[in-house]
């Protein structure tokens, strides 16, 4: 029995080793979960993959295209072979997600099982399905694409989502730190400390579950340094630490997007940080080596082996070969030996030694070296160099340059002042050097963030260490582990002419998989450079773009914030089962069961409608008449106190903007009403004129829309009802006539405004009651009118009655092109006024003619109601208008419409063709009046 087997035997799980100094598992807290239906054990702190590896599992997925078995490569979030399904959640990064009790983990995209996957037959056909295979093969004949699609979908990776999957809780947060440090390794922690010491508010973001970067799985000296850094960070009151979080991108104005995961109550949160300065400290990502069999389970990066050993106390194998080109590789060999794993051979790339191929059925069993020798092993560790994840530098406008001596890209000189970099992305050195550089960079960041001089901060140099350029052995292997792209594929693509790195990327999809280039970009460039005979610097690299890590749609959407507005009478509407209708943000009663009955109630008795959403603007000051005269197309300089006038507003383009009535309440005091949908726009319109064009006018406008609950009391018995609840206003027709306003007390509530207008065509009073009393007054009115057969009516009944009366609704019967002269209110437009909004355009309208007109249409077949928006067409099917409103009138027993029609059709008695959505036509005649009911207005003036 080997040393390794002796050490490992008898453990609760097969590959779990004895305690390591920096381990993050809590051995006192065992956790049980299932993997493909079989129960597994773990410890709190284990990731899914570390727990499975501890139990002896080596294969966790099948590759994208060839369905080759895949194991651990990086043991990080970005590990391409470790995506699994957890319960109903697909694509979970198993090397990052911590295991929890009861978790149900399964392999995804395999059939019928991970061990026996039918689609692995693709491997046999691998030589025929290289780069561009799908583009070339399935493009023709086009008619077969639906069939192709169905078949290909069966092979598509990505796990499963159930339609019944519960929606997670996602939200957003806005943050305003002085400095964001992206990366919580030694340099990042030091940068945060340096910035905080210099007085800045700092947000320190770390992708892993705890701070420390490579120190976490390093030597005892490094662990001691980490403990000290952590202590300092914890002691600082100015550093907010976000772990298990990633900076996903940087946008204009140093807008830093940060994704936080797995918070209490929140699945994912998008932090929108507006940082004054950002410090990029992402460290380095270890680069895989390209050779035949490099994706066999058992072949992994040195950092992966050290993470497994030192963070989770898992032996990555029992007999190892280590390919080392740097200190990390050497340290891994030492750690493996220390942990009891037999290191069969260290292959030192610095001395020209190399690995040529790896072999094994399902997982690694043998490595062939450059001298032809073969070594039996179940673990091959490679340490051949680093990739600098330069996303933050790229998106800040920098173009990193290739440093041949270090065999990696380093920052260029294009960084703006509000972006700094530190740590491995800048250069190499012992922990102390990284910390020194980080701390100074943090201080410099704070100086810039706080707009101080900053000249006193000297950032020490940190240069990349020389490193052999190792990308590919003399055999071909996988370059992009996510997309199953081999170096042979890349060479073939280059030979086909795709010799630009950007074209090569798009043709082969290399760097476009879930790893997004973090592992494969440099190798892709290197293989292309080799294939084209150029240098890596000449070949260039693709540009890193956000997001750095996948962001769920839930996180982008965040909390669902859809404001809704309710009137004070909403509880009554709900209690009486009103059918709600969404009108903008307002939730309003459309009807209470039978709109036609509601119409009859109003026409025969008295009805109440909640019209609270009507815009209401309080206007005060001696210059209000001038303002009104300017805003409306009609005249307003003379309006007696106690009177109300209807007005039409046009924009400066002469297009109908809004309409409503304005009442003169008292000296220098007016109340303007607007349409419900136009309240905000009109308020802004007024404030804009007052602030920009008429700053000298003494007018103060205050929106009061929801300060009043508004109730329209309509019907022949409305005066009788009003007389029962109003004590201090003479309601007689002589004292309170049509188009007049009074202030008084309703149902013992003082401070109410009531005006006599008639949108429904009936005698009616519009009441504006202090909103807190709205429900009380509503209920009191209904109680007072019980013996008058008082009822309620909703928007639908109101729309029917106003259509019977021919009253237009702005934005229903008009649109963004409807001109002032087109709505049948020509007499209202007073061009003899000195000036008013839209006057010049209205003058041109009159001169030009040719605009559409609003007319009433009566279908020849009175039982046909043309749906709104039905087109009006000529004999040659040209469109010459449309129906804007249509209903079956309960009062008239026939269909009635309003329509916008071309001028040649806007003549009384003209017969037009209305084209219905079902393809049939109906004929209709233009009516003499817009109003079909009480055109003389006798009822509303009663």
């Amino acid at each position: 029995m080997s040393t390794a087997k002796r050490l490992l035997s008898g453990r609760p799980t097969k590959m779990r080793i004895t305690s390591r100094p920096g381990e993050v598992i809590d051995r006192s807290k065992p956790v049980r979960f299932t993997w493909n239906g079989r129960e597994k054990s773990a410890f709190e702190g284990d990731t899914i993959i570390s727990a499975l590896a501890a139990s002896g599992e080596r294969v966790f997925s099948r590759s994208f295209k060839y369905h080759r078995p895949r194991g651990i490569l990086t043991a990080t979030f970005h590990d391409p072979g470790c995506s699994v399904q957890v319960g109903d959640e697909p694509n979970v990064r198993g090397s990052h997600r911590l295991v929890t009790a009861g978790m149900k983990v399964t392999a995804q995209n395999v059939w019928p099982s991970l061990k026996l996957d039918v689609a692995s037959a693709n491997r046999a056909a691998g030589r025929f399905i290289g780069a561009g295979f799908y583009y070339k093969t399935f493009i023709k004949p086009e008619r077969l694409w639906p069939t192709y699609e169905k078949v290909l979908q069966r092979f598509a990776p990505g796990g499963r989502v159930s339609a019944d999957s519960p929606h997670g809780s996602y939200d957003k947060r806005y943050a305003h730190p002085d400095v964001v440090v992206a990366g919580g390794g030694p340099a990042g922690m030091a940068a945060a400390l340096g910035a905080a010491e210099a007085g800045a508010r700092v947000m320190l973001v770390e992708e892993e579950h705890s701070l420390g970067g490579h120190l976490r799985y390093g030597s005892e000296t490094e662990l001691a340094a980490l403990a000290e850094l952590r202590r300092e960070v914890e002691a600082s009151g100015a550093i907010e630490v976000l772990v298990n979080s990633a900076v996903t991108g940087r946008y204009d104005g140093n807008w830093i997007a940060i994704l936080q995961r797995n918070l209490p109550h929140v699945t994912e949160r998008l932090v929108k940080a507006r940082a004054k300065v950002v410090v990029a400290a992402p460290g380095l990502i270890e680069r895989p080596y390209v050779f035949e069999g490099n994706d066999l389970p058992g072949v992994m990066l040195s950092t992966a082996a050290r993470r497994l050993l030192n963070l989770w106390a898992v032996a990555p194998g029992t007999r190892a070969v280590v390919l080392s080109a740097n200190e990390e590789g050497d340290a891994t060999a030492a750690d493996l030996s220390d942990a009891g794993v037999h290191v069969a051979q260290v292959v030192d790339a610095r001395r020209g030694e190399q690995v040529v191929r790896a072999r094994g059925a399902g997982s690694l069993s043998e490595v062939e070296l450059g001298d032809g020798s073969k070594v039996s092993c179940d673990l091959l560790v490679t340490a051949v160099g680093w990739t600098a994840p330069t996303l933050l530098l790229n998106v800040a406008g920098d173009r990193p340059v290739y440093d041949e001596r270090a065999a990696r890209f380093v920052p260029g000189d294009g960084l703006p002042a509000n972006v700094l970099a530190t740590g491995g992305i800048v250069g190499d050195g012992p922990t102390a050097a990284l910390v020194e550089h980080g701390r100074a960079t943090g201080r410099a960041a704070a100086e810039r963030a706080l707009a101080r001089d900053g000249t006193s901060v000297t950032i020490p140099s940190l240069s990349p260490a020389p490193h052999p350029a190792l990308y590919r052995s003399r055999t071909h292997g996988i370059v992009d582990f996510s997309e199953d792209i081999s170096s042979k594929d890349l060479v073939s693509a280059a030979r086909e002419g795709y010799d630009s790195v950007e074209l090569l990327k798009r043709y082969t999809t290399a760097t476009m998989g879930p790893a997004q280039g973090k592992l494969e970009t440099i190798n892709t460039v290197a293989v292309l450079a080799e294939a084209t005979g150029r240098s890596i610097a000449e070949t260039g690299t693709t540009v890193w773009r956000p997001p750095h890590v996948p962001v769920s749609l839930g996180a982008l959407a965040g909390r669902v914030l859809e404001p809704v507005r309710y009137s004070p009478m909403q509880p009554w509407h709900e209690a009486h089962r009103a059918t709600p209708i969404v009108a903008g943000q307002w939730i309003r009663p459309e009807h209470y069961g039978d709109p036609a009955r509601e119409v009859r109630t109003v026409r025969e008795h008295v009805g109440l409608i909640d019209v609270t959403p009507l815009g209401k603007l309080d206007l005060r000051g001696p210059d209000v008449p001038k303002l009104l005269n300017f805003l409306y197309v009609n005249k307003w300089l003379k309006l007696d106190i106690g009177s109300v006038r209807y007005g039409l507003m046009c924009g400066e383009d002469g297009v109908v903007l809004d309409d409503g009535v304005t009442g003169h309440l008292g000296e220098d005091h007016y109340l303007m009403s607007t349409t419900s949908s136009g309240a905000d726009a009109v308020a802004h319109w007024i404030e804009n004129w007052l602030q920009t064009t008429f700053p000298d006018w003494q007018v103060y406008m205050t929106p009061m829309t929801t300060a009043y609950a508004s109730i329209n009391v309509a019907g022949p018995k409305s005066r009788e009802l009003m007389s029962r609840v109003v004590s201090d206003v003479d309601l007689s027709p002589e004292a309170f006539a049509y188009m007049q306003v009074r202030r008084g007390t309703i149902c013992s509530v003082p401070g109410c405004v009531m005006w006599r207008i008639g949108f429904t065509g009936e005698l009616s009073y519009e009441l504006h009651v202090p909103a807190g009393y709205g429900l009380y007054v509503w209920e009191s009115l209904l109680a007072a009118g019980e013996d008058l057969s008082a009822g309620v009516f909703g928007l639908e009944a109101q729309r029917i009655m106003r259509l019977e009366k021919g009253h237009l609704i702005v934005s229903q019967d008009t649109d963004g092109l409807t001109q002032g002269y087109g709505v049948g209110l020509d007499g209202l437009i007073k061009l003899d006024k000195e000036d008013f909004a839209g006057k010049q355009e209205l003058e041109w309208q009159l001169e030009r003619q040719g605009y559409n007109h609003l007319v009433a249409l009566l279908p020849d077949d009175a039982s046909v109601v043309p749906p709104e928006a039905s087109q009006i067409v000529t004999g040659d099917r040209s469109i010459v208008g449309r129906v804007t409103s249509s209903r079956l009138s309960p009062s008239l027993g026939r269909s009635i419409c309003l329509a916008l029609v071309a001028p040649q059709l806007a003549e009384t008695g003209k017969s037009v063709t209305v084209h219905l959505p079902d393809g049939t036509d109906v004929r209709a005649k233009v009516s003499e009046e817009l109003a079909q009911f009480d055109p003389g207005g006798e009822r509303l003036r009663a």
Binding site: L263, V564, T702, Y708
Partner: protein, 221 residues
């Protein structure tokens, strides 16, 4: 977002014949009458509390920043302070203020401000019924607001007494930092019809901080 609900008349407090004023925000039981308004008598001991203060008197003032009334109000744009009568004067805009006082005192406030204005142009309007007003109090209040409002709530930027108008949960909201007994506290006012929505949105965002509803406060303002 939990389903938004409104005052249910079935749960309303029993009253006599007089008019009853109601906030746009549903009061949690026990419901009682306070100066003619239905208010919640609930008391919470939670570290983070949300209370409906809509019944408080709210008077909106517009006048020139150089007027006598502006001098009388003393508070500049973006700041708030209590006057001698304990009313909170909020500098809501370059030429606008909101004065918040105890329930039922709006007429009194209007009269005193009109007297201070004298003959100079000014608009002094009781907007008590037009505005919903809530108070969020607790050490986590800032963290909650950061989830629904893009403003920097750091003490250096939004100290006690600071006021601004911004989008809170996508509703135009006047925010006043008005600390209570050393605890961070924010008054949030929006137009009345959005009151229940804003209240529910704050509760939802505060779920992770275990926010609780507190009743109408004895201290009022």
């Amino acid at each position: 977002m939990p389903e938004t609900s409104s005052t249910n008349t079935a749960g309303a407090v029993e009253v006599g014949d007089g008019p009853v004023a109601r906030s746009p925000i549903r009061p949690l039981p026990p419901v009682r009458l306070h100066a003619g308004w239905e208010v919640s008598g609930r008391r919470s001991e939670a570290a983070l509390q949300l209370a409906d203060l809509s019944p408080l008197a709210k008077v909106h003032v517009r006048t020139s920043p150089t007027s006598a009334l502006a001098s009388f109000l003393e508070v500049g744009f973006g700041r708030s302070a209590r006057d001698e009568g304990g009313r909170l004067v909020v500098g809501a805009g370059p030429d606008s203020w909101t004065v918040i006082g105890r329930t039922g005192t709006a007429s009194e406030i209007v009269a005193s401000l009109q007297a201070a204005a004298g003959a100079e142009p000014a608009s002094v309007i009781d907007t008590t019924h037009g505005r919903a007003l809530v108070r969020l109090t607790g050490s986590d209040a800032r963290r909650l607001l950061e989830k629904v409002c893009a403003i920097d709530f750091d003490d250096a930027v939004t100290p006690d007494g600071a006021t601004f108008t911004s989008s809170v949960a996508r509703v135009v909201t006047e925010v006043v930092r008005d600390d209570l007994d050393g605890l961070p506290s924010y008054l949030l006012a929006c137009e009345r019809s959005s009151g229940q929505y804003l209240f529910d949105s704050l509760l939802d965002a505060g779920n992770e901080f275990t926010v609780e509803i507190d009743g109408f406060p004895e201290k009022e303002i």
